[in-house]
Symmetry: C2
Subunit: 218 residues, 2 copies
Amino acid sequence: MTSQQDLLDTLAQVARALGNGHRLALLERLAQAEASVETLANTAGLTIGNASQHLQQLRRAGLVTAHRSGKQMIYRLTDERIVTLLGLLRQVAETNLAEMERLISRLFADDDAEGALEAVGRDELLAGLTSGEMALLDVRPEEEFEAGHLPEAINIPLAQLEDMLDKLPQDREIVAYCRGPYCVLSHEAVQRLRQLGYRVRRFEEGYPEWKAAGLPVA
Amino acid sequence: MTSQQDLLDTLAQVARALGNGHRLALLERLAQAEASVETLANTAGLTIGNASQHLQQLRRAGLVTAHRSGKQMIYRLTDERIVTLLGLLRQVAETNLAEMERLISRLFADDDAEGALEAVGRDELLAGLTSGEMALLDVRPEEEFEAGHLPEAINIPLAQLEDMLDKLPQDREIVAYCRGPYCVLSHEAVQRLRQLGYRVRRFEEGYPEWKAAGLPVA
DNA sequence: CTTTCATTCAATGAATCACTAGAATGATGG
DNA sequence: CCATCATTCTAGTGATTCATTGAATGAAAG
């Protein structure tokens, strides 16, 4: 009798590990590539000590593992399915919480001001790539790009966008992507490129979702 | 910049709603059928007041909705995908947390003592049903059976098992199922029926998983 | 062996959560 | 209108979570 509740309690511990915005940010970053505590702390905007504690909570919940490399501790996701889990959580939240729509529309407010461009869906992107009408732009930091990216994608980290315009093809529509649906990098890139006259849209997902769907990565 | 973190914080609120064993028990019960606060409190082993508060937390997270029916408040899941979400959480926990295996093996300890019968998987069950070699036994309370069950299943609530043995077919292997992988009802039923000489095994999932997989229900 | 660097551990206070018990609400039936 | 029933709200408690600080650990480099 009671062991059934013990199982649910243990399951609840895992869910509770997901119940903090900073830890979700750490997981989103880890979905791109394994990383050290310092790197993770920086991308999540946390102090090192604080990041370390959150990571340990994730480790206790079985969501990440750690191994030493010299002086650094390298963390990574234990399981590919965690990306799927987070995606499903996102879907459930988006369809059932009004608050989510409000926040999302705020994130997209800038885009709308520019002329209401719909993001590119996965199927449309696949079609555009095979027909040669679209070219992929990865605006994540080089480190994350190196660890894995969509096939044929060009990497221009957002900070160097204006310096590397010559790498962009002129004859195709550009589709920019980054870490995932809530990552602002590709939004920013699309805005800046459109002001420069480029024909460019955003991919509505990111690298982790692409990979978790079993699509080919480089 | 900050609105990205707001989104993750909101997502974390939903995850936190899942981060309590009692609330998971309530959700598991709601995955069977909608129910009143009192019913939910009873199956989850909570006081009415406490159950009410947990349900309201689930409602704030967008996981359940409530409507009045006479004096009663009837709660139900907002979204079919919540079952999938919980299933995925379970899978991730099972493969990455040693603690889970320990608890599961304890839940199965009685079965093993009986002669180590493997539970029936979904594919095997489908094959057994179409070939007519298996018959389905639903051991959940009548109320949950009425709200939906696997096709062709016979309902004998666990409490009345010995009184209704005549309803069981003798010529086929019996496959018992209940609420889900952690539900003890079908374990108990299998044990008792085997002592009576029946050829019977447990279905490794439950009604909600079957339905969420898009398989036909009655 | 000492220093340095990356990370973890331990202790604190503020905030939030879980449970209880009892009062308050809202629909129903006399 | 009054009484009843199901549920929710309120307040108070003890436990847990979170961020911060500074000390402690462990590997590497001089």
